[in-house]
Symmetry: C5
């Protein structure tokens, strides 16, 4: 459940990395898988937009080359390696560095998987580092690049950066939808058969929302910083798109807050339903006890062995006592009915 906070990629894991390169402008498109980083560095300063996607963080030597070729600051390299980074933006002279999380629900249990993405936007190149979870999260962006008529082809690196962020934010909306489904199921459960498991699922959902919130909230701040125009690399025309992403993030945060309030209400309803159940158990106990205690007492009286109990001799004694018992029981039942306990 809880994980080590500041993990970093072990070196054995990092073997099967894959470098995938796009190089495009309005008219041309080169798309290839690169073997070595040297192939990429040449594309760096061509007037066309170059997008280098590194699928698993590569071994250190590999990264060094990339670093040298693209002038990345040592702190940025550290951040790329540290896979528990909080989403943030770093505006540097030659590029903008952004870390964020891609979230996906996988499997039948709707477990959220999180992948850290590092995004470096230079003037003529974009580099992305993924953790290489299955499922190609940037597929939609690739499709758009391949389409010669898409807006992406005629825009610069900042618009490509926006498109990549936007595809992550779209993923957040999918998560919200899965939350919404689970909320509905929980509500049904709460009405039909509340159990301690319901409570545990409520808290599990709450915790996953915290997860989403931790991805969204700092990204919102980062987008604000990018949109504010501190970097020359982000053109004014792209800012309205960033503002749109910002609005979507706010909307996600709002929805999370609403869901959280709903879950809090569900906890209260669950707790009060336990109390109601206990109340009804108590009522059964009380009704039974109240009816049979007096009756048993009457039977007890006539079970006493006194020599001189005239009632015992009487022919109608037994039926009369049975009648008294029936009357007492009836009175009790009426009393409980008036109290609405039955």
């Amino acid at each position: 459940m809880t994980t080590k906070v500041k993990s970093s990629l072990s070196k054995t894991e990092a073997k099967n990395n894959k470098i995938y390169v796009f190089d495009y402008d309005v008219n041309n498109l080169i798309e290839k898988e690169a073997r070595s980083i040297d192939e990429c560095v040449d594309l760096k300063n061509t007037p066309s937009v170059t997008w280098i996607n590194v699928d698993r963080v590569p071994p250190v030597g590999f990264l060094d080359k990339l670093t040298l070729g693209f002038d990345l600051h040592p702190v940025v390299i550290d951040d790329i390696f540290n896979l528990n980074q909080r989403p943030k933006v770093e505006i540097l002279d030659d590029y903008v560095y952004l870390v964020f999380k891609m979230l996906e629900t996988n499997g039948p249990k709707n477990k959220i998987e999180s992948e850290q993405v590092s995004l470096v936007v230079g003037e003529k190149f974009v580099i992305t580092f993924q953790q290489g979870i299955e499922g190609d999260t940037f597929a939609k962006v690739r499709e758009k690049i391949r389409n010669p008529k898409s807006r992406l082809r005629s825009q610069g690196t900042d618009y490509l950066g926006y498109a990549l962020i936007d595809s992550a934010v779209d993923g957040y909306f999918d998560i919200l939808d899965s939350f919404s489904d689970r909320l509905e199921k929980l509500e049904e459960q709460l009405i039909n058969e509340p159990s301690p498991r319901t409570l545990k699922e409520i808290y599990a959902l709450k915790r996953e929302m915290l997860h989403l919130r931790k991805a969204v909230w700092p990204l919102r701040e980062a987008i604000t910083i990018m949109e504010r125009g501190e970097s020359q690399l982000i053109k004014k025309t792209t800012r309205i798109y960033l503002r749109d992403v910002y609005d979507h993030l706010i909307q996600i945060i709002d929805t999370i807050e609403t869901y959280r309030e709903m879950l809090s209400g569900m906890v209260d309803i669950y707790l009060s339903s336990i109390n109601n159940k206990m109340n009804s158990v108590m009522k059964v106990l009380t009704v039974i006890t109240t009816i049979f205690m007096p009756l048993s007492f009457i039977a007890g009286i006539y079970g006493m062995n006194f020599k001189h109990m005239p009632e015992l001799e009487h022919v109608w004694g037994y039926p009369f006592v049975l009648g008294v018992m029936a009357t007492v029981a009836l009175i009790m039942l009426l009393y409980f009915q008036r109290k609405k306990w039955l």
Copy 2:
């Protein structure tokens, strides 16, 4: 209950759109239903104020024409299509774009229905996009336009924009009034016959308040931005009206907060009333048990079959034991009366 978060209008729904056009100044008024968007574009730059109301979001091709005719930014078009927009304002060079929600309570269940309205205020034109829920929400504004003496006729597009927003805010006050009625009913229920249903209704009301708040809170921010005077399109004379709308929104938020606090208090009272009930059930059980257990025990003693129990032989044994029992019962009753359990 919970809905998909980022829905967008399906294309089949979007057929029966209706375009309704007003074109007016102090002296003249043209009012007509337009068949095609081309009829509207010509009115765009006339010195008179043109208001184009599109009742359902039109098919895409249709919209494209409108877009071309009025220079709307692609992001704005996207926002108009996305029907789960958070209220917001976008100040652009040639127009101000505002999204907000019209809320209405319909039906016997006081269910809140929400309609997204997109408002584009240009220099000489205003375009509104409604979702086309039944009930003409802008009827009052239309009435005012038709009245040649109304202030609306002598003012520009920014005042028309204000009037449209103001009619939405008036709708919020109606919702608040319906909330107030339901609160009063819930309070009565809580005093007379609290039931788990009461609790569920409290949370339903709480959730609907969240709904209203989600419409009001961001609109407040949007109004602040408009009123701050970043756009030339919003004249200084109109700002005092926007400030008035702002004050109304704050008042709504305040009232929601008060209602929420009241509802929280009602939850506490409900929970403590369950506990009180359980307490009184327990008291009945305890009183009955405490009275009859000793009596049954006495009866049990004289039901024993020992040969040598002198009391059993005594003529007054039976009446004496009955007397002892009555005394024990009386003492118990007095004890409970002093403890205020009866």
Copy 3:
């Protein structure tokens, strides 16, 4: 309890208005009841300070005259008519407009009554609009004006405005005092005989505090705006007085917060006292059951009709069994005493 949020004065109510005029400087004082508004307009630009107090909002035609005579903005007029205004200030070119609430506790039930006051401070005139609740809330200010040596006589309209606000704030302190008394009574009740009524009174008090807070909080903001010196009408010498009012408002808010925390603590104490009571009921039940069940069981054994039960024949059988029973009871009692249940 809950009231319609945006009420406005019905026209029939508004008949019996009264216009009361003061016109003074250091040396002279005119005090009269005006029949028509025309009498007042002439005083407007005299060098002396003119205070026009309108006791009930007058019929519309009446108001129109006043408006024309004193150049009030239509939005201000609307606000004066709308009797559910949130306290606020509007700084206009020729005057400052302030709305606030006068609060008074009336009757034996300490019910808070609220009256909306609109205050217009011009250069040489002050106009106030009251709702005309009984009890002359501005009596102290009138007394001061009548006293030729009071500071009020030598100061301008802004100081008169301050004096009027200050008398409202003094009223808030009276309310706080009545809250303090009720809190003390509630605390006593909670210790001596907590009942569901106590809980309801706690929440009633909480709600009334919300009421006071809704009057004080926005007034605080309004005073800040006035004190900040945006208007020429409020002289620098008056600002220190406004700052004093501001400090008093903060002090009221602080006290309300303290009271609210105390009330929350009282709710917790109440709820735990219910639980304690239930606990003591359960203990009585358990003690009685635990003592008498084994005794009854022993009696039951010797009530069995087996032919061969040697104890039954023994002469000392009965006294011995009685001794066993007494021993069992004693052991139980000692056990409960050690557990501190007795």
Copy 4:
């Protein structure tokens, strides 16, 4: 418990005031008790630092003289008289006016006593007004003045002001320490023998913390304003000392927050301990009932008077039934042991 909010000193109380004057520079020190205010006014403009301490607020006429002599603003005079002032600072042209609270725990009950101190820092004089509670709160400052080598002697009025505030803040730390002791005692009580009294003491402590917080929080703001350098009277060299006081105040607020969180946790633990107790009471009841009800039932069967019950005739009937009973009891006990109720 709760006190009238806006009290002011009654005139009868104000008789026994005492004026104590220090006048010093690096080389000289005059220390005397003044009879009349006229003695003090002369010292006002000497180059040496003059500290006038007024121990109880003096009668009005007395104060007037002081006021005239030192040019105090009427609002400041009002604030000195109003003994329920919120801590605040007022920066005026010729002096800085600061109100704050001295807190002391007195008596065996650790009751906090609060004394309002008004501090006026002019260029060459400092005036302090105390409420005259027993215990000389400024004793340490006096000691330092009397010591010719202390830093105080070579500094100006602003440093004296700082020293006086600092001695109040030191008093707050003493209060925190007494809180810490009481917290520890409460925690012990909670573990060893939680009782409703524990809960009441928790809330009493909570309330006293509110008290301290109300003294500290606004003082923090006041110090910020003083340190910000709006007044010429507070020299740059003194600001680092004020910043130090500020840091101490923040530390106090932090500690209060921690204590409050601890108290909240203690309330939860208390409530859950009540529930646990009730649980254990219920278990005793259930164990006893579950064991003896079946046994009594078996005894009841063989207490029936049917003619034809072959078991009754059997010689081993009685011992056999006793054996059955023992077996039933044993099974029940094992069951409860497995459920960990014993």
Copy 5:
């Protein structure tokens, strides 16, 4: 548990201090233990970086020398002596003064130990004051200095300062990891065998998180101030490293918040599990009572001694009654099974 808030080092404790000096540039490294402070002062203005680490706060006279030698302000000296300082930064003309906490988990109980570190960064020297807890917290930094190829050797005093802070922040991450482990254990406990001890451990963990938060939160503020560039001593190239530290602190705060929310959820789950247990105890009680009370009553009837009870004479009377009893018991059992109480 709770400690005196404003403690200061007693003089007896302060004996065994140790002064450890590094003096280095890219090419040279001097490392020695100093006997007296005079040895250090000479190194102060050499172009190489001098790091003086004082392990226990030295006796006063000792400190005076250091102070004179390095021009430390008296307030700074006071702060170094006061061992309950809140983390903070003080930007002075000749140096930057920073106080922060080193935290370590020691022993089997994971008890957090806190050590206050004072850091003075001058132009050519860095002085650190530690409390001298066992375990050399700056060991890693020393290693780096000894390594001639490390970045540290080529950088100035500001980078050394950063490295020291960073090693403290790394320690915070270790604490977070230990928290994470304890959280996991608590969760397991909560599922398998919740006990009052679980609750107490939850609150203990909560309190220790408060501790960590009190160390991290103000340090975050201090780092912001340093990074903002008010001091010339912190070069622009070092700021990106400080920003990185800042991001780590934010991440720690975020994680603490998440853990706190998880703990709150665990309290709710614990409380509801107590209620569930009580519920199941009640059910056992009710089932047993409801089954055996009617049966005992039937046995009681035929234990009565009436002369005329025809059933008693009948040969099949006894088996018939046993059959009736079995039927009643069966019906009850079925009823409880349908109610899911079994």
